[in-house]
């Protein structure tokens, strides 16, 4: 390790930044470490927010992670507002500057919004999740705009709490993420549980009084529920990097070790890594962890550190089904069933991907299946 590295700053306290901080220590770094997080909360599990945390039975602990052991100075509730990569300084809200020898950029992303209306609710952070959970307790009628995993999980959670729920989607929900086959399985389960599905070319929101919003479909109809939740993707938080040349197209481009330059790594939802399909953001829990590990080693050891070898792992829980998927997403065409079959618990594979539906399986085995290994355990 270079003797010159005595100060590392990690900006972002989600799972990507948290993992990078721990990975630096695991790799032997014992210098000053500072973690900056804009939320006052300790790092938490974001996947849990739209799953267990929405449920009535959850005791508001399902998102909690173990206490960090990285020994960093934690500046929580503190936002980074600027970066001078030549002088190696992070500027914090309030004007204080943090000097560094190595920097980890892990400021993640935020919910993309369709409007500025107060009646448009989104779910991205812990505060959002708790607010939504409270609103749903009164069993409002709900329209969810967006048919990706988050929209479907929110719709599922609201249905389970006794709400009448309509989901508005461009095309079949989940198809862009999981392919037509798995999307069909999930949509069938959703309908069976009472979800109303509306496909539209486009939807926009307009005000309905001071607090509420209504949904206007491109084809004409208006939807006027008690509660509108949008789940239409995420926008990387790169504004604080303006003028640095590190995020000119709204993402931070990094090499296969997560480095944007030799002294700066970027990890998690805002980082575009090289993949077989070109430079891509893959905003998933497991990806953020892999990014954090790889980039921490690269910051300390440069090109002698191993590059990222990513086989994305994704899971969702919705409408009573648990789906775990590994490999190149979305898988195309019909799968081969390895165990089980249509309509029940099943293990299936495509060329380059594998999925388990309501089927507990060691993920390393799912990874082997996705990679084309024989089906035996």
């Amino acid at each position: 390790m270079s003797a010159a590295i005595g100060r590392v700053v990690v900006v972002g306290n989600g799972i990507a930044g948290l993992t990078a901080a721990h990975a630096l220590r695991d790799a032997g770094y014992d210098g000053e470490l500072t973690v900056v997080g804009d939320e006052v909360h300790a790092a938490y599990s974001r996947p849990a927010l739209s799953k267990a945390l929405l449920a009535d039975h959850d005791d508001l602990t399902s998102h909690r992670l173990p206490e960090p052991t990285h020994g960093a100075v934690e500046l929580l509730g503190t936002r980074a507002e600027g970066l001078d990569p030549d002088r190696r300084r992070v500027r914090l809200a309030g004007g204080e500057e943090l000097p560094y020898d190595r920097l980890v950029i892990a400021t993640g992303s935020r919910a993309r919004r369709l409007s500025d209306l107060p009646g448009e609710h989104t779910l991205r952070g812990l505060d959002d999740a708790i607010a939504l959970r409270d609103r749903v307790a009164a069993r409002p009628s709900v329209v969810v705009v967006g048919g990706g995993p988050l929209g479907m999980e929110v719709a599922s959670g609201c249905l389970a709490r006794g709400c009448e729920v309509t989901l508005v989607s461009q095309g079949t929900p989940m198809a862009p993420q999981l392919g037509d086959h798995l999307a069909g399985v999930l949509v069938a389960a959703a309908r069976e549980r009472g979800l109303a599905l509306v496909e539209t070319r486009a939807a926009r929101l307009e005000a309905a009084g001071d607090e509420a919003a209504r949904v206007v479909l491109d084809e004409g109809p208006l939807l006027e529920p008690d509660l509108v939740v949008s789940a239409v993707g995420d926008v990387p938080n790169t504004e604080w990097l303006a003028g640095t040349g590190l995020a000119d197209d709204g993402v931070v481009r990094v090499d296969e070790r997560g480095l944007a330059r030799p002294d700066v790594a970027a990890v998690g939802d805002l980082a575009a890594f090289p993949t077989a399909g070109g430079l891509r953001r893959i905003p998933l829990w497991s990806t953020a962890i892999e990014h954090g590990r790889v980039a921490a080693a690269a910051l300390l050891h440069g090109e002698s550190a191993p590059p990222l070898r990513l086989q994305p792992y994704f899971w969702t829980e919705q409408f009573g089904l648990s789906v775990k998927v590994v490999g190149d997403l979305p898988p195309t065409g019909e799968p081969t069933y390895v165990e089980g079959g249509p309509g029940g618990p099943a293990l299936m594979r495509w060329d380059g991907a594998a999925a388990a539906v309501d089927h507990r399986i060691p993920i390393p085995r799912l990874r082997r299946l996705a990679a084309g290994a024989p089906a035996a355990a």
Binding site: T19, D26, H63, W315, R360, A377
Partner: protein, 62 residues
Amino acid sequence: MKIVLDRPRCEGHGLCEEAAPHLMHLDDAGELVLDREEIGAEDVAAAKAAARVCPVAALRVE
């Protein structure tokens, strides 16, 4: 130190196994098995790494 599993919480993602394969594994039914619960100093870092990657916080090291 000791690894503690909150079994009802475990969803079998197996990210812990990838972090500490010598301490735990998912069996053929997808249930997590702790191969060692009492751990020595040499395994604490791996056990903590396993606990930290669990998205449902089902593992503790204490």
